[in-house]
Symmetry: none
Subunit: 257 residues, 2 copies
DNA sequence: TACGCAATGATCGATTATGATCGATTCAAT
DNA sequence: ATTGAATCGATCATAATCGATCATTGCGTA
């Protein structure tokens, strides 16, 4: 058996079970412990799993690496809706920032028919999606590439964003609340998001309703940073008006406000 | 059996199985290992499969954001050779520039097992190839993304390169001659190449022999810019020494100098 | 027939994967 | 905390595979 297919087989087994032990793999493939350990070490450096004493467990990154698609599936319908709404705000000749993350990635599906768009992004999947469309100019924000996020971050990236200015920024967050503002579980990601928002005339937050009035651990901006909150279903009327009091429009479905 | 139908048969077998080994093909077709290996190498350069130690796996198996259409490529065998040679110059802990282009892209295959490498590149396929390896740090040079080249160019890109310094630069060119230096058919590409070379301690030009002593229309650097010329087959002794007179080593195969 | 060209096979040194050993480390039970 | 068993990684030896090279074969054509 080719080494490569053994590793692939290991990943398949891991996909079906939560974890796996060196012992069972040793027996399964009829090779020595040492070989299995080496396989696991390799797979770990490639980010496919995390080694534990006696075996290995799934890695967080596996979802996104193995199938970016699979993760898109959860809440997929909602995200589609959000992105459709968001895309209606994009006009020809716009210059827009697109943040990274699965929701924002979906947005790139919906802008392929616009003309003379300039997209500034740090998300590799977004670039990959738009690269073949000659009607769209892409500016990629360089910097340190983080594998499991498929995007670039760091000081350089932040500085570069500051050099650009866009008409609109489409950003994501892991939580948003009136009292505590926008929050994220990842600081470096949040810094990029904030920078994009600061350098755009109008800021759109794409956010499924499960994240509204929730807080993640890193609070990176007041809610006043955004101008429009796009979500997939109606928020209570009272809440809507409280956002409106902060000069933030909430958009759900096709009705504006 | 004719070579062509054997290759076709190999692809059929691969289609039914996840992977295939040189051994089983050797037995299946009653030919030597060497022939099978040559078939597999050819099929790889045409993009039909990916060679692994002991055999090959399906090419769709690799998830890649950006891929070149290798099918149209010529001189695949030679480029592989050049890249293997080039990779032997890369050491652990190196900081390296990798230029864009199909030849340089192949180089990324051969550096995945190095440790603590930092790769600075403007080539999206290179990023996509290395992104899953946590032992390799990637810095992407941002800028205007050009779709058909799958890389970023422009003033921003050039300026960013100037902010970095690398131990080694691996670059390409469309022509190189002692009298007229390095030349390219694309100015923006050449400017990136030159910038990388200027910011590295040692410059390696990867160049199949068909480009040696040829000139393309845009001359962008004197031959003194490079330190090592890596090509796939021997240049005439007289020519070699003329390059050596310019302090440039010519490397073909494993023999240095 | 002689020649050239491409495909193939054989060989060899180099590289890579694997297996075995062993002291160090980790885990779990007391 | 202590102890014993399991597991680990480092190392070395071995086996398998690799690519480079050269010799051979097969085949069409001058």
């Amino acid at each position: 058996m080719v080494q490569e297919s053994r590793k692939k087989e290991i990943l398949k087994i891991l996909d079906e079970h939560e974890s796996l032990s060196v012992q069972e793999l040793e027996y399964r493939f009829k090779v020595s412990q040492m070989t299995i350990r080496r396989d696991l070490t390799d797979l770990e450096t490639q980010g496919y799993l995390i080694r534990k004493y006696g075996g290995a467990v799934k890695s967080e990154a596996v979802d996104s690496l193995f199938s970016f698609n699979k993760r898109l599936e959860e809440n997929g319908r909602q995200k589609e809706k959000i992105c459709r709404i968001a895309s209606s705000f994009i006009e020809d000749d716009d210059v827009i920032f697109i943040d990274c993350g699965t929701t924002l990635f979906r947005l790139s599906h919906y802008i392929q028919n616009k003309t003379r768009l300039r997209v500034i992004t740090n998300s590799l999947p977004v670039v990959s999606e738009l690269i073949n469309y000659s009607n769209i100019n892409i500016t990629f924000i360089g910097g340190d590439v983080v594998g499991d996020r498929k995007a670039s971050y760091g000081d350089t990236a932040e500085r570069l964003i500051g050099e650009y200015h866009a008409d609109k920024a489409f950003i994501g967050a892991d939580g948003v609340s009136l009292s505590k503002g926008l929050s994220s579980y990842d600081e470096k990601e949040a810094r990029i998001t904030r920078k994009m928002a600061e350098n755009a005339d109008k800021v759109f937050l794409l956010c499924d309703s499960s994240k509204i009035e929730k807080n993640s651990f890193y609070r990176f901006a007041p809610v006043s940073l955004i101008n429009v909150l796009i979500t997939e279903r109606k928020i209570s009327g009272e809440e809507t008006s409280r956002y409106r009091d902060n000069d933030i429009s909430i958009i759900t479905n096709t009705e504006e406000e």
